[in-house]
């Protein structure tokens, strides 16, 4: 048991921090909720930050730490699937990587665009294809998610089959989502804490009212544990750990998203405050991979058969 960061991990996170600094605050944006930066994406690729899992002394925990850190940025980056799932399938697959469940391909797909690699994970196997424009239907412009999303119009006849256990890919997918959710939860909480500490009513900061303090403190508890469960799941590679980590993260997201906008009052309804960038990503993550119930069933199966 060693829960402190090692030197390599500290160093990698420091590098990511430095690289991400210019992207730490959100520019005013009013056309849709999704905020992306090609520049940030290119810098991450160039510096190899999405490939740390394969580096022996770094491994999956470091990859999860990087994913979590990037998820705290106001800009959405396709890092989780690339950093934590792609190495299992084929490290050379072109990004962005879009993971979809076989038989559940009609929902909004994060980062789907022409040239993206769509990975279809089903019980029978793991297959992929490079998406072309005719396989993609755009989401409506004012879609209420802070990820870029689009829809698949169908799956091509011919896909590349990958020699990898689909259960293992699903496990890594859960870890990837749990790590990303942990970062989103952390950033959302931090932004609410700042706001309610500054905003005054009745002559005192909103954060001095216990009605809010206790709910925020509970949010801290589930946010903190979402982090630890995600890291543990990355470290152990255990399927029960992965399912519990994502179940807990999806529970946490459901618990806090509504509260956070509530606490911001009118500002929580605007695009002016960046809170939605994290909460409206979390909202989409709560549905992925079948949502909490599916994670619960997977965890129960792994724990007790």
């Amino acid at each position: 048991m060693q829960l402190a960061l090692n030197e390599d991990q500290t160093q990698v996170l420091d590098f990511v921090e430095a690289l991400a600094r210019p992207f730490a605050s959100a520019p005013l944006h009013d056309a849709g909720l999704a905020l992306e930066s090609a520049e940030l994406d290119a810098a991450l690729v160039e510096n190899g930050f999405l490939d740390v899992m394969a580096v022996e002394e770094l491994g999956p925990v470091t990859a999860a730490l990087v994913v979590e850190k990037l998820a705290r940025l106001p800009f959405a980056v396709e890092a989780a699937a690339s950093a934590l799932v792609r190495p299992l399938i084929d490290p050379e697959l072109p990004r962005p990587l879009c993971l979809v469940e076989e038989g559940r391909t009609s929902g909004p797909v994060r980062f789907l665009r022409p040239g993206a690699t769509v990975v279809v994970v089903g019980q029978s196997g793991v297959r992929s294809f490079t998406a072309s424009a005719d396989q993609i239907a755009a989401a409506q412009e004012d879609t209420l998610y802070a990820y870029p999303v689009a829809f698949l119009t169908g799956l091509p006849e011919a896909m590349t089959s990958h020699d990898v256990d689909p259960a293992e890919v699903t496990r890594a997918w859960r870890v990837a989502m749990a790590a990303e959710a942990a970062g989103l939860l952390g950033a959302a909480l931090a932004s609410v804490v700042t706001y309610v500490s500054e905003r005054k009513q009745f002559g005192r900061p909103l954060a001095t009212f216990q009605a809010m303090r206790h709910r925020l403190a509970e949010a801290q508890v589930v946010t903190n544990t979402a982090h630890w469960l995600a890291m543990r799941a990355a470290a152990t590679g255990d399927s029960a750990d992965a399912a519990m980590a994502l179940l807990h993260a999806q529970e946490a997201a459901k618990r806090v998203c509504y509260d956070y906008h509530q606490f911001l009052g009118g500002m929580g309804m605007t695009l002016e405050h960046p809170l939605h960038l994290w909460t409206y990503r979390l909202k989409l993550l709560t549905s992925e991979l079948g949502g909490r119930g599916a994670q619960g069933l997977a965890a129960a199966e792994a724990l007790w058969g």
Partner: protein
Amino acid sequence: MQFEWTEEQDAFRHKIRDFLHAQLPEGWEKFSEHGPASPALTAFARGFCEKLAEVGLLFPHWPKEMGGEGLGPWEQQILSEEMWIAGEPRGGQYMNVNWIGPTLEKYGTAEQKARYLEPITRGESLWCQGFSEPDAGSDLASLRTRAVLKDGHYVINGQKIWTSYAGLADTCFLLTRTSDDRKKGITIVLVPMDTPGITVRQIPSLIGEGDIHEVFFDDVTVPETARFGEEGQAWEIVAYSLRNERLGIPRFTLARAALDRAVMMLKDRGDFTREYVRIEAARCAALCEAAGTANYAVVQKRVDGLAIGAESSSARYATVMAERAVCEFVVEFLPEALAGASPYLKMHHQRGIVAGVAAGSAEIQLNIIASDVLELPREPR
């Protein structure tokens, strides 16, 4: 960052399990239904702790200067986990080895160390903690039990409540007021429980026989040498003690073990096929594991010699969430467990409902998290 135990730590855990397997009597599970403070379990614990001492498992985490083996906080954690899962066969003596011993070593006079440490190391003594009062619960610093120094003796008058183990303890680690200066006016006195003027009344409770008491002090007189530390030093000393025992009991381990037990019972009768039961069980397991990792993050800080702050309150609240979920799961899907079908699950339920009250209420933990983890501006007082 890695989440595996070392080979030595695994071996240590197995040593404890083997010992428990060999030493716990037939029918222990039914026996452990008696609360940890019951006369039956207290009497059992005396013999049991003597045997623990013989094989070096009573206080292996104490430094070598104190006769321990100098094992670290992880080993203390492992020891606590295995004992608590087994129903805490040490009874109230877990307090001795977790914090009373180390606190005596740091703040005690030579006379106090000579008198109290050895019985602890032999597994013979039982302490109680005279902290809460009828009007001083969460607001502990408002306590009023008064100790007045007169002719070389403290004369103590007042009342304590919710005191665990008081009915059978030899000594009380008692917080008294020696001046009106709120926290700075509180002084610790070590009071033998057979001192004239002490009356103990058991409070019938939901959490097991003999667990909580009222203790009345009427002109209880002890020599000045019974004072522990200086007058007004109690708050500092208690803070030190809590650093040794900040996380308290590793309740999440019993909650998880109880959940596993409940699932096995449901499986045996073919009831673990319903999806909503399985999902709810998984949610409970995730909460137990969540509490576990939060607790371990605090232990890691102890290992690294870092100051432990409000993150321990966060870990404790995570534990409360887990305990609550498992208690509710059992009641919802295995109601017969609390009516005789499972002594183990009944024992867990009785101990589980205490999680958010004992050693600082859950709401106080939330206050601490709000102020010291989230650093929200403080509430006006």
